[in-house]
Amino acid sequence: MFTLLNLITMLVVGAMILGFIAGSSMFLIWGERKVSARIQSRLGPMRVGWQGLLQSVADAIKLLLKEDIMPTGVDKWVWQLAPFFAAVPSVMAFVVIPFGKNLIVKDLNVGILYITSITSICVLGIFMAGWSSNNKYSLLGGIRSAAQIISYEVPLILSIITVVMFTGSLSMQKIVEEQSKYWFILRPNLAVAFLIYMISALAEVNRTPFDIPEAESELVAGYHTEYSGIRFAMFFVAEYTNLFIISAVAATLFLGGWQGPVLPPVLWFLLKTYGIVFILMWVRWSFPRVRVDQLMSFTWKVLTPIAFLNLIISGWILVR
């Protein structure tokens, strides 16, 4: 029943989630800079706050205050809407992410399906940005990302289905509860699914070695070449929110989610999620980028067949 109390709870929860997203992506941006600096024998940001902790805040303020430049010749409406199409779906995905036993906005019974479908909308934003910018670099970036993200969706979902087969439920909480005895990553075929998931998730969020849509050395900045100020910041926040989401989903599906001894559930969840984020950052700063055709042949000729095979073997194990 819709009451005033309901409305207030909704608003409070919404504000909490938005606050968490803003804080988390700022922390991740700072973390990325620090991790990359350590890998490259540098210090990274050191001036703003302790160890440069407030650097992201300073950057956010700078981006907010910047002039909103719209190049002439862009497709006005599409261009203006694109950052929202990129950022809003990743915020919406937070609805079903379980931070703890009761710390979940809404435990939908189609939870994981909801996440995969809602995050697929992000590609629309990227493609809109690439198409409407009236810039050839952006267009190439947009086309590349459309091809890449749609192809990698297949092995991604296949690896998620493998988990769902073992739990028999799409609900995120149910998946976590199923792992109360052991983490799913300890089963060999689910460990393979974990690897497939991580690789395709990396491609989904356009990070090195799959950062082809925004390949700096080829396409300048890819689809967001023409964006500046707060619109650019939206793409940036979307990127790091997506990074958080894929890590959170990986932690939930394979590493037992918020379950763990001694520490409170929220802490366990964040520990696992940020651990995966750290590994993804490590990968990013160590590997070169693959070429676009190599990327496509890898997903269709290697990753998808392995994912199917893994699915069939899992089915055989279940009915045995």
Partner: protein, 376 residues
């Protein structure tokens, strides 16, 4: 290379798109401008535009005395300024028939080889950056280059444009204790080369991006007069330090690394191997460093006899030649610079025809061009 066209593709109407890569682009190594004709991601044709960094060095030379032109040579190939200094001074000395103290020759070899290592480090680092390895190899390379720059800082007081060689010798003698520093660097560098090999050389993604890409065949390389590591990667054993030894290079033991395929990976790997050989040369030069005074005693104004000279040296990028015509005055009548990057760049349209957009940057990075000496 002709691209295969499938039967069903012939009926689809498609257009090629033109794209300007550069002069402001993250991976065109300066102000190179490539006009690419793209069919989707595939490069159909390309036109190379140069001249954005033109400073008319050769004309300036006609209005400077021979000594005054030395700092200008620093700005040709600013990544390996020592080698440019060296080439120019050797040419003038040959024109004047001047002899150089033996100690100066050894010091010149040490400086030139250290600078060759620094230059190759930049080539490797920025090449990895072009492949999308987000700056980590670049920072590793710069970490070691920094040690070389510190050594140069002590030798001549400069870090990028050294202005160290003089006609008839070098500017200063080596400072005390520098040989210890150089030996430490050699030891450190040997262990760090292993790090590069671990990080890059046999990485699966790196191999996929570099093997069999941008193959420069032997005869094509010779026809385009490609020189330096790029030529040796194509299988031609040609190094002026061995073929026409200048200074005291004939006294040292070193190998010329040669690859056979001429693809991007070979060009990268040749540079790694050349760093090792340069370390060997420096080691031997330090051990055999004779006593004496390497500094100049011949004054600053030189009046070479009327005549002409062409002298070529092996710079990190290839054959660097200086052609000087003298009319007997203190200014050169004409000075022509044969820049290695210029010829190496000329082969680009051949190499990038029919490759993917992403390979354009990797091929360009592997050729290791410096716009300063192309535009002069």
């Amino acid at each position: 290379m002709e691209l295969p066209v499938r039967e069903e593709e012939k009926n689809i109407h498609s257009e090629e798109c033109y794209m300007n890569m550069g002069p402001q682009h993250p991976s065109t190594h300066g102000v190179l401008h490539l006009e690419l004709k793209l069919d989707g991601e595939v490069v159909v044709d390309s036109i190379v535009h140069i001249g954005y960094l033109h400073r008319s060095m050769e004309k300036i030379a006609e209005n400077r005395t021979y000594t005054q032109f030395i700092p200008f040579t620093d700005r040709l190939d600013y990544v390996s300024a020592m080698n440019n200094n060296l080439g120019y001074c050797l040419a003038v000395e040959k024109l004047m028939n001047m002899d150089v103290p033996l100690r100066a020759k050894y010091i010149r070899v040490i400086a030139a080889e250290l600078n060759r290592i620094a230059s190759h480090l930049i080539a490797i680092g920025s090449f990895a950056q072009d492949l999308g390895a987000l700056a980590t190899p670049l920072f590793y390379c710069f970490r070691e280059r920094e040690l070389i720059l510190d050594i140069f800082d002590e030798i001549c007081g400069n870090r990028l444009t050294y202005n160290y060689m003089r006609i008839g010798g070098v500017q200063f003698d080596l400072p005390d204790g520098i040989d210890k520093k150089i030996q430490d660097f050699i030891k450190c560098m040997r262990s760090r080369i292993k790090e590069y090999i671990d990080l890059l050389s046999y990485n699966v993604i790196f191999l996929a991006r570099t093997k069999d890409i941008g193959v420069l065949l032997k005869d094509k390389a010779v026809n385009y007069s490609v020189t330096g590591p790029n030529l040796r990667a194509s299988g031609v054993r040609c190094d002026l330090r061995k073929d026409e030894p200048y200074l005291v290079y004939d006294k040292f033991q070193f190998d010329i690394p040669v690859a056979d395929k001429g693809d991007v990976w070979d060009r990268y790997n040749i540079r790694i191997q050349e760093i090792e050989q340069s370390l060997r040369i420096i080691e031997q030069a330090l051990a055999g460093l004779p006593e004496g005074n390497p500094t100049v005693k011949v004054g600053r104004i030189h009046k070479p006899p009327a005549g002409e000279v062409y002298l070529r040296t092996e710079s990190p990028r290839g054959e660097l030649g200086f052609y000087i015509v003298s009319d007997g005055s203190e200014y050169p009548y004409r000075l022509k610079i044969r820049a290695p990057s210029f010829s190496n760049l000329a082969v680009i349209p051949e190499l990038i025809r029919g490759v993917k957009m992403a390979d354009v940057v990797s091929i360009l990075g592997s050729l290791d061009i410096v716009m300063g000496e192309i535009d002069r």
